[in-house]
Symmetry: none
Subunit: 418 residues, 2 copies
């Protein structure tokens, strides 16, 4: 069962727009155990559209084609598909009645341009559109099942749910179960090397996909195949366990949650509070922690002490320490962490100071050099890191590593024994 999604629209080939409809459609198909093999985006050139439709019908068992059913000149999906299939377009008075009624309710006459929407490809079933004038169409050919669907999300999504998915029941391979494992602190190739043995034992029906960005890695496990669900879950459990054996120290999440959510849940379960002193991250750590609803239970504050004066006045970092070691140094990171912990009254004080770039780097303190410190009752840890990438990447990786230090500290110690 090969499935393909086609998005039709000139705007989708500009630098400004991306197709969004295909994501919920993919989710719906996956639920039935149908994977999407191709997505194609094409404009309103008829020859191009015909080519894409012909290719799709030649290679896929299910083709969902979105867009180009509107009333304007450049909406030509209906006509083009009819030509590709060598079928006639048939006028349906019932559709005209529907569109007229729609206009009447708004106190308007039906526009002549909507007449073309009353034509249906010979042999197609009409899919009602309660949210717009363009009805959908469902066709079956010897090889393929084809759905023509309108482009606007509020029209296509209910139609897909109500009229397309029920027609697909039983066509899929049963079941699709996904799991997302997330990691930090490891490079992509180091992860791959460690996964070698895991790849050798991937159970049948399961695919493993890895995704990497600076400071964050993800491993997606997807089971597609027959039921029952419990046995699919068991396969994924086993695979997850062997990934755990290969990569445990770097895994922060096994259900796709972000690091800020994981750290928040740990703080909550330990009944601990945190406060941050951020220099080069500029507020990003506070921003990420407060993206989680209810974070006020454990996040007290963040002092974004960008300038030296703020470091001194807000956190009591000794001016002499900054003079001697520079603001980007282990002693200053330590003093910031101790200062924010003391002045906020939080259980944990987390501090970051570094050179985010692109300017401000020197031979001894290059762009990407970052010191992180975590102060707790039992003492303070300080780490030195050198991150690569532009300003945004250095900021993100700093925030990621800082949160990961908190995570590791919390899972290593039980109770309040910090």
């Amino acid at each position: 069962m090969k499935a393909e999604i086609i998005a039709v629209g000139a705007e989708l080939l500009t630098p400004d727009f991306r197709d969004t409809n295909s994501l919920p459609l993919t989710a719906g198909l996956n639920e039935l155990g149908i994977a999407v093999s191709f997505k194609t985006i094409v404009g309103d050139d008829e020859a191009d559209l015909a080519r894409v439709l012909r290719t799709a019908i030649g290679r896929s068992d299910l083709v969902l084609c979105m867009g180009g059913l509107g009333p304007t000149e450049d909406d030509r999906t209906r006509e083009t598909l009819a030509r590709v299939l060598k079928r006639k377009l048939v006028f349906r008075a019932a559709i005209r009645a529907c569109i007229r009624e729609r206009f009447r309710r708004r106190g308007l006459p039906m526009s002549a341009s909507n007449l073309k929407q009353c034509y249906v490809i010979d042999g197609a079933e009409v899919l009602d559109n309660p949210n717009g004038t363009a009805p959908g169409q469902w066709l079956e050919t010897k090889r393929s099942r084809i759905a023509l669907l309108p482009g606007p999300p509020r029209e296509i999504l209910p139609m897909f749910e109500n009229d397309v998915l029920p027609r697909l029941a039983g066509l899929g391979r049963g079941l699709s179960v996904r799991r997302i494992i997330r990691l930090t602190g490891l490079g992509e190739s180091a992860m791959e090397t460690r996964l070698k043995s895991v790849y050798a034992e991937v159970p049948s029906g399961v695919t493993v996909t890895t995704l990497a960005s600076p400071g964050d890695l993800a491993i997606h496990l997807t089971y597609t195949g027959g039921g029952p669900r419990a046995s699919a879950e068991t396969r994924l459990d086993e695979l997850e366990a062997s990934i755990g054996r290969a990569l445990r120290p770097w895994i922060y999440s096994r259900r796709g949650e972000g690091l800020e959510e994981v750290v928040g849940a740990l703080l909550r379960s330990r009944d601990l509070t945190i406060a941050c002193a951020e220099s080069c991250t500029g507020g990003l750590i506070g921003h990420r922690l407060t993206d989680i609803p209810g974070s006020s239970d454990y996040f007290l504050e963040s002092a974004v002490v960008y300038g030296n004066r703020a470091k001194i006045r807000r956190l009591g970092v000794p001016a002499a320490l900054i003079d001697r070691h520079g603001a980007v140094s282990a002693p200053v990171a330590r003093a910031m962490a101790l200062g924010i912990r003391r002045t906020s009254g939080a259980d944990l004080g987390l501090a970051v100071t570094g050179v985010a770039g692109p300017g401000g780097g020197t031979a001894r303190k290059p762009v990407g050099l970052v010191y992180l410190a975590l102060a707790r009752a039992r003492g303070t840890v300080v780490e030195r890191h050198l991150f690569f990438g532009g300003r945004a990447q250095v900021k993100f990786q700093s925030s990621q590593k800082a949160l990961d230090i908190v995570r590791k500290t919390l899972i290593a110690r039980t109770g309040k024994a910090l």
Copy 2:
């Protein structure tokens, strides 16, 4: 000249990921007057990928293929294209030396899995990748020009700019000139209504596209056609002027810059400093301001005073004021702005307090209620807003409105007369 973009990656066929690289690539091609006719997304199944490559080479003069050049098992673009073109893969020691050097700089040995990245399709030129291990490749066949490019944005974008675009010069049809106008503080339909008269006078060859998200609107103007460039610029100038007449109060940028960049440039040119007191935005305003290189010249600090205790201790907000009016109130916003200005010594004190949701709302203080205050030498302004959307949208809109208050204050007053 038919151009086509292919994105390779199993994750791009899941409900979780969308291709993003194709947008800047499209913008770059458009600059040369090359339109994109097709975009295709395919996973890591070799037969599917081979089919997509064969189709593309059969119908397009230029094929940009992104992704699948990494070191992992499922990165197979290089091998698949070689097979489709019936060409050999050739080992290049120079690439190995590059990758080794990259690892050496990080104090690591080159991983064995990277060896496959040293192979190049016979006849291809190698495109250097200073930002990753996967070099790109440039090939010409009788019909097509083909670029194989790495998937990660930080790798593909510089490579496209430096090594692909120069190879395309002269292939396009004339000229493409774009301009991006950005607005905030206005709804999408209000903008469309005000643009009605503008739409009636769009000069030939120019397209106008609008993009809306909560708190941010953009109008993209694109001229495509013959030269000279100066006359295209004149057409866009005139259109921009009439858009300015319709929408001036809401326009913050006419060259696509973000609001944090606009505010930063205004602060710098006035030689003014700013400090923030953030409650519901959690650090987002500081994060945005510090995304701009050199922001330490005007951004002093941000006090992310999430809890009441922090508001009282860091900023001297009277506890009685919070008791009487609640933390989300005009008097507390004002006290926060005055407090951060006084304690930081900044020229401007910017404060935000609100209910980001989803919890914490009441009938009198619903989710989305936000108070903003800006303290300056001549007095303090306080604004009350009600934003719609989820937690992330409320945070973003709050930061956007707060920065816009600063922008409006700075453009309304000259010199230090604040």
